[in-house]
Symmetry: C2
Subunit: 663 residues, 2 copies
C-alpha cells in the first residue's frame, strides 16, 4: 500500500447495474440522475462532482453534485450522442472551502486576530494559482497578494468573493480526491428508441398463393408499410433453406415437392454463391446483389431493414461438414438434432457453444453479423438468445458495436424474467416482452408500470409486438377486429418501439384450434393475400403512427403513468414531456365486445394545470376538441367504432380578444 | 478471451456488503442464509452449491443450494470458529442430471428405442469414474458397464438409482462451472458478541477524593465489577498526560498544581520509560510491569481488560519533536492545535493522516496497537474513529488481526449514520449507538428493530452503553434511580454486549446545568466515591447479568422482536433461540415516574405455543411463576419497585401424576 488509499467514501451509486458490470441505457439527450452516499472523516467541507464522457475520450465533462439529506448526494447529466459513455464521481475534502467555513465561524464569533488564518488561506490560493492556466493564475495570484496584506474584515470579504470562489472551485486541490469506478452507459441511436416495425416474409411480398416473391418484388409491400407509417422492415431469415427433413405445410413432417420450407431451417450447401449458409441468401429470393439493391431502396425511402439472426443449422448447413466439432454428437459419432422430449426437430442441429473449438464458432458467428453489417444492415432481431450463453451475447455485441456502433439488437427471449433481463444487461438494445399476454386492465397497468417505473427502465427497453409468426394471441383470435384496434392502440401509444407481423393489419386471426398459432402459417408455405382486403385497419394504424410522430411524449419511454379510470375495462395512462409542452392522455377499452363508459381522472397536477383551469382535450384520433375543467371527466368508448381516446391535453395559455388561447 | 467465459449466471448474492468489498459478521456457530439469482441458458438442469472455508484454507466445504421461485436459490452454512471466513457459490449445467431428465421424459412418453441415449449416459458415468477416487470409481464403472448392456427399462431404473445419483452429484463435471466472487465473513470470538463492560478510571479505583490510585490498587474495583457480573474492564487512556496547557477541574483552562489532567491529552516526553507516548503508562499509575501484572490478575479472574485507543497528542507527546511532519502546521511553521471554531483545544495537536510521511504515521499507530497486544490486551475501544480516514481503520484492523486474530475493536463514533456504518463495515467489531438518546417506547422500538432486523444486523453490532464519561443522558438526570433501573434493563436485555461507566451503579446524575455532562467529571480531577453508597443498584445489575448468562436467547443479537403492549409507556420485546428452548419476554416501563399497567401480547405462534395451551411465565427478576393461557395478559409495573418483568416462558411439556410439567 504505497499509494494513498481512498480519502472520501463513495458508495451505493445509482443507477448502477450489478455494481457497474453492465451499462445502463439511455436515448439521445436522455438524462441520468445519479445519486450516491458521499462522506469523509472529520469536519472538512466535502466537494463532489459528477463526471462523464464518451467511453475512451481523453477529457471528462463534469458538474457539481449537491447534498440531499443524510450524506446522500445527487447530480445530473445528459448524454448527447449515440454509443458508449461512462460516468463516475469524484469527491474530496476541499481545503479552501473548509478554510473559508472555519474563518467564517471565527469571524462570526467576533475573533479578529486572524493573521495566521489569513496567511494560510493565501497559501491555498497561491497553490491554486500554480495549478491554473495563465489568465486565471494571474487573477489568483492577485487575490493571494491581497490576502497577504489584508486585515481581518477585508480577508473575510475576499474569502467570499464570488470570483475567487469560482476560481478555487475550478482549480481545487484534488490531489487526495477519491474516484468511484466508471459506470458504463449505452446511448441508443434514435431508431433504437423510437420505431415502428413491420415484419413480413419477402417471399410473401406480393401475396401469391402458389409461388414466392423475390427481393426485387418487395417494394410494393415496403411502400405500403411506409405509407402506414412504419420505418423498420423486418425480414425473417433470408438464407438458403435446408432440404433434408424439410417441413411441409402446417409443420408437417412430410414436405411435398415445391413446398418452400421453413426459413429458420438455415443452410443448404447445394445452394448459394457463398457456401449456402448464414452468409448467403436463398436463391429463390434472388442474389446478394439483389439484397444490396433492396437495402439501398429501403434506405432511400428513409426506412431500414432488420434481419433475423437465428443460430439454427439445417442438416445441409455448410458448418456440418466443415466444422462437425461445433455440434453435439451421439455415441455413434453422428450429429444430434434438436429435441424437446418427446418432440424431435430433425431438421435442426443445435450448436455446442462450449465445444473444444468454441472460440472458432464464436468468431464465425460474429463474422456472420459483421458480414451483414457490411451489406448495410444495422438492426438484428435475434432468435431465441436465451438458449445460447449470455456471455456469448455480451462478447459478440461488444465486438460488433466496436466496429459498427449503430448496430441494434432485439432479443427474442420469451422465457423467465431474470434471463430476459440479463440479456438486456448483456447488451441487447431492445427486448420482446410479455405484452402479448397482458390483456386485462389490471395486468396491463401492472406490467406497464413495472417496465417503465422500476429499475427495468434503466436497461430493459421493450419492443411491443402485437403478434409474431409464432404467436397469434387468444385475445386477437376471439376478439376479432375490435381486438386488433385495441392492441394497436396499446402497442403504439404505450411503447415508443413496437411492431406488427404482417397480416395484423388485415385482422388475420385463424388459429390452429386450441393453440396460439396461425393456421396455414406462412412459415411453412406460400400464402395468398389481398393486402387491401376489406375490414383492414391500415387507416387506423396510419393514424396512430402519425400521432406518434407528431407527439414527442409518445417517443419517450419511462414517462408512462397509469391514471384512474373508474371502470375495470378502461385503461387510462398519460405520457408527458418533462417540459409539459406535450401532454397525452390515452383512454382505451380492453373489452372488445361491449361499449364501456367511465369517469376518468385527468392528472392535473402532473400536467401543470390548476384545479379550476379550463383546458382542451383534443382527440387526436378524430380531431374532436372538448373544453374541460376539473379532473373528473366522462368518456364513452365502443370497441367497434371508437376503441380509444388519444387526447392531447392543451393547457390554457392566455385570453385574447375575448378568445381563450390553448397550448 | 481464451478462457471459457462464465456459463452459469450468478447475481444478486445476499448477504453481501458493497458487492463483497466488506465482510459480514457472525458470532461463532452463526448461520448464514445465502440467496442468489442463478440460471443458465437453454434447458440444462442447473446445479448450485454454496461453498465456504476459513479464509486461505485449501479446501472448501460445500452444501447444495435449492431453488426457491423465479430463479432465486438459497443455501445455508454455519461458521464454527472465530476469524476470517469466506463463502462463494458455484453453479453449472449438469450433464448427467440433464440426461436423466430428458431420458425420463422420453420414457414417460412411451419411447423405448433409447439405445443411443443409454450409451450417452454410460459415457457420462464413465467420465465421472475417471474423476473419482478408488472405491467410488469402481462403483461408477460398474454402473456404466450395467448401462452399456441395459435395455430401456433397466437403464431407466439405473438412471434413478440413488447410489448412482449420489455418486454423480459428488463427481459432477464442473469443468464449465461458474464461481461467484468470494464473499468475506468475519466471525467474532465469544466475548465480542456477548459481554458486559465496566468502565472505570484506574486512578479512581479506590474513590479517594484527593489523590489517585495505581494499577496495583485496582483489584478491589475489579472484584466488585466481577461480583456484579461484568467481564470486560475498560480503562480510559493510561498513558502519560501532557502538562502543557493541561486542563483543570471541570475543563478549566487553569490547572492548579497537583491536578491530574485529562487522560485523553496523551503524551509527556518528560515521563515514562518508553518515550512518554502511546507505548507508555503514566508513572502515577505505576509501571508497565504493574500493568502486565494487572492484565494477568484480570485474566486469572476470567475477565479481560479493554484499553482506549485515542489518537490524541498533547503538545508534550514525543511525536511532536520526533515527527513534526505528522502534524498540521501554521504558516509560521508552528504546529496547529485542535479547533472547533470558535473553540480552541490548545492541549491537543491533531495528526495529519495524509502528511507526506503518512505511511510512517500509519505504521507507528499500528505498532502502538501491536505493542499493547504484546502486553496481553485484545480489546480496544477506539476514540473518535470518524475523524480519521476510514481507509486507515480498514488497513490497521486488518494488520492487527492478521497477527492477533482475537483482537476486538469498538468504534466510538457518535456521528451521522452512514459514517458509523462504514466504520463497522471497515472492520470494527462493535459500535457505540444512539441507544443513549432513545428513550420513548416508539423510539426504542424503531431503533431496536433497525439494529436487529435491517441489513445492519449483517455488520453493525451494537454495544449499548448506558452512560460514558462524556454523556450523562437527560433521562438519567431527571428520572433518578428508577431511570437507572429502566436503562439497565434495556441495555442488558436488548443487547448482548453492553456497558456502564462506573458511577452508574451508584445512580450518579449531577450534571453541568443544561448539558448532558457530569458535574465535577473525573476526567479532570480526583473523585471521592463510596462504591457501596446507599441507593446503589448493584444487586439489580448483578441479577440482570446473571439472567443474561443463564439464558442463551439473551446472548444472541438479531433475535429481538418488538411485541405488543397496550400502553405507550410499556415496551415489550421477545428474544428466543431458534430451537425455542429458551424463550424470553421482557416488559419494561419507560416512564420513571408513574406506575403503568397494560395487557401485553405473548407471541404464542413465535414461541411454538398453541392458542389454548397453558404455559408458565417465570419472572427471572423475582422468581415468581404465573400460569397463563392465551396471548393477552395483564401486567402492572412500578418504576420504583418493579420496573420490568423479565419472563422466561416455559412451554407445557407433559402431565405426570396429575402434575403439569413445563419446559
Amino acid at each position: 500500500m504505497n499509494k494513498q488509499p481512498e480519502t472520501a467514501i463513495i458508495r451505493r451509486i445509482t443507477p448502477s447495474l450489478d455494481n457497474a458490470r453492465y451499462a445502463i441505457k439511455r436515448a439521445i439527450g436522455g438524462e441520468i440522475v445519479v445519486e450516491a452516499d458521499i462522506f469523509k472523516e472529520g469536519h472538512d467541507e466535502v466537494t463532489a462532482v459528477l463526471k462523464w464522457r464518451p467511453a475512451g475520450a481523453a477529457a471528462w465533462r463534469e458538474t457539481p453534485m449537491k447534498p440531499l439529506t443524510n450524506d446522500r448526494w445527487t447530480g445530473s447529466l445528459r448524454v448527447t450522442a449515440p454509443g458508449a459513455w461512462e460516468f463516475t464521481i469524484e469527491a474530496w475534502g476541499d481545503v479552501f472551502f473548509s478554510w473559508q467555513h472555519e474563518l467564517e465561524k471565527k469571524f462570526a464569533a467576533g475573533l479578529r486576530d486572524l493573521q495566521s488564518e489569513i496567511l494560510e488561506g493565501a497559501g491555498f490560493v497561491e497553490a491554486a494559482a500554480a495549478r491554473a492556466g495563465k489568465p486565471d493564475a494571474a487573477a489568483l495570484k492577485k487575490f493571494a497578494a491581497g490576502l497577504r496584506k489584508a486585515a481581518a474584515e477585508e480577508a473575510h470579504a475576499t474569502a467570499h468573493d464570488p470570483v475567487l470562489c469560482a476560481l478555487m472551485t475550478v482549480y481545487a486541490d484534488r490531489s487526495l480526491a477519491t474516484s468511484a469506478e466508471p459506470h458504463p452507459v449505452w446511448v441508443d441511436r434514435e431508431r433504437a428508441t423510437f420505431a415502428a416495425w413491420y415484419e413480413f416474409f419477402p417471399r410473401s411480398a406480393e401475396g401469391k398463393p402458389d409461388s414466392g416473391s423475390k427481393f426485387r418484388d418487395c417494394l410494393g409491400r415496403i411502400d405500403d408499410a411506409k405509407a402506414m407509417g412504419f420505418d423498420v422492415i423486418y425480414f425473417p431469415p433470408i438464407h438458403p433453406i435446408g432440404t433434408t427433413n424439410r417441413k411441409g405445410r402446417n409443420n408437417s413432417l412430410r414436405c411435398e415437392p415445391g413446398e418452400p420450407g421453413v426459413p429458420y431451417a438455415i443452410g443448404n450447401n447445394k445452394q448459394g454463391v457463398n457456401g449456402g449458409g448464414h452468409k448467403d441468401v436463398a436463391p429463390e429470393l434472388g442474389t446478394l446483389e439483389d439484397f444490396d439493391w433492396l437495402v439501398g431502396e429501403v434506405r432511400a425511402r428513409g426506412l431500414e431493414i432488420a434481419l433475423d439472426f437465428a443460430i439454427n443449422c439445417s442438416p445441409d448447413h455448410p458448418y456440418v461438414k466443415a466444422h462437425p466439432e461445433w455440434f453435439f454428437k451421439r455415441p455413434d459419432g453422428t450429429i444430434k438434432y434438436a429435441e424437446n422430449p418427446p418432440k424431435k426437430y430433425e431438421d435442426v442441429y443445435p450448436l455446442n457453444f462450449h465445444n473444444d473449438d468454441w472460440r472458432g464458432l464464436w468468431d464465425e458467428l460474429r463474422d456472420v453479423i459483421l458480414f451483414w453489417c457490411g451489406h448495410g444492415v444495422r438492426i438484428f432481431r435475434v432468435d431465441n438468445p436465451h438458449t445460447k450463453p449470455v456471455s456469448f451475447w455480451e462478447w459478440v455485441i461488444a465486438e460488433v458495436t466496436a466496429k459498427f456502433p449503430d448496430t441494434v439488437f432485439l432479443s427474442e427471449a420469451f422465457t423467465r424474467p431474470k434471463m430476459m433481463q440479463e440479456l438486456a444487461k448483456a447488451g441487447f438494445n431492445q427486448s420482446y416482452t410479455y405484452f402479448t399476454w397482458r390483456n386485462s386492465k389490471a395486468e396491463l397497468a401492472e406490467y406497464l408500470t413495472e417496465l417503465t417505473q422500476s429499475d427495468l427502465k434503466e436497461f430493459f427497453r421493450a419492443n411491443f409486438f402485437t403478434n409474431t409468426p409464432d404467436i397469434l394471441p387468444e385475445f386477437l383470435q376471439k376478439g376479432g377486429r375490435p381486438a386488433f384496434l385495441i392492441r394497436a392502440v396499446l402497442a403504439t401509444m404505450a411503447c415508443p418501439v413496437y411492431g406488427i407481423y404482417s397480416g395484423f393489419e388485415l385482422c388475420e386471426n385463424s388459429p390452429i384450434p386450441g393453440r396460439e398459432e396461425y393456421a396455414d402459417s406462412e412459415k411453412y408455405q406460400f400464402k395468398g393475400r389481398d393486402w387491401n382486403a376489406p375490414g383492414n385497419i391500415k387507416e387506423f394504424l396510419t393514424r396512430l403512427n402519425t400521432i406518434r410522430r407528431q407527439n414527442r411524449a409518445l417517443q419517450e419511454y419511462s414517462n408512462l403513468r397509469i391514471q384512474t379510470a373508474e371502470n375495470d375495462n378502461l385503461l387510462c395512462f398519460s405520457k408527458a414531456t418533462a417540459s409539459l409542452d406535450n401532454l397525452i392522455l390515452v383512454i382505451v377499452t380492453v373489452d372488445p365486445w361491449q361499449p364501456q363508459t367511465a369517469f376518468v381522472h385527468v392528472p392535473l397536477a402532473e400536467f401543470g394545470i390548476g384545479e379550476n383551469d379550463a383546458y382542451v382535450a383534443e382527440d387526436l384520433l378524430t380531431g374532436e376538441r372538448f373544453t374541460w375543467r376539473g379532473n373528473r371527466n366522462f368518456v364513452a368508448l365502443n370497441p367497434h367504432t371508437r376503441p380509444a381516446h388519444v387526447f392531447r391535453i392543451r393547457r390554457w395559455l392566455d385570453r385574447e380578444d375575448g378568445q381563450d388561447i390553448f397550448a
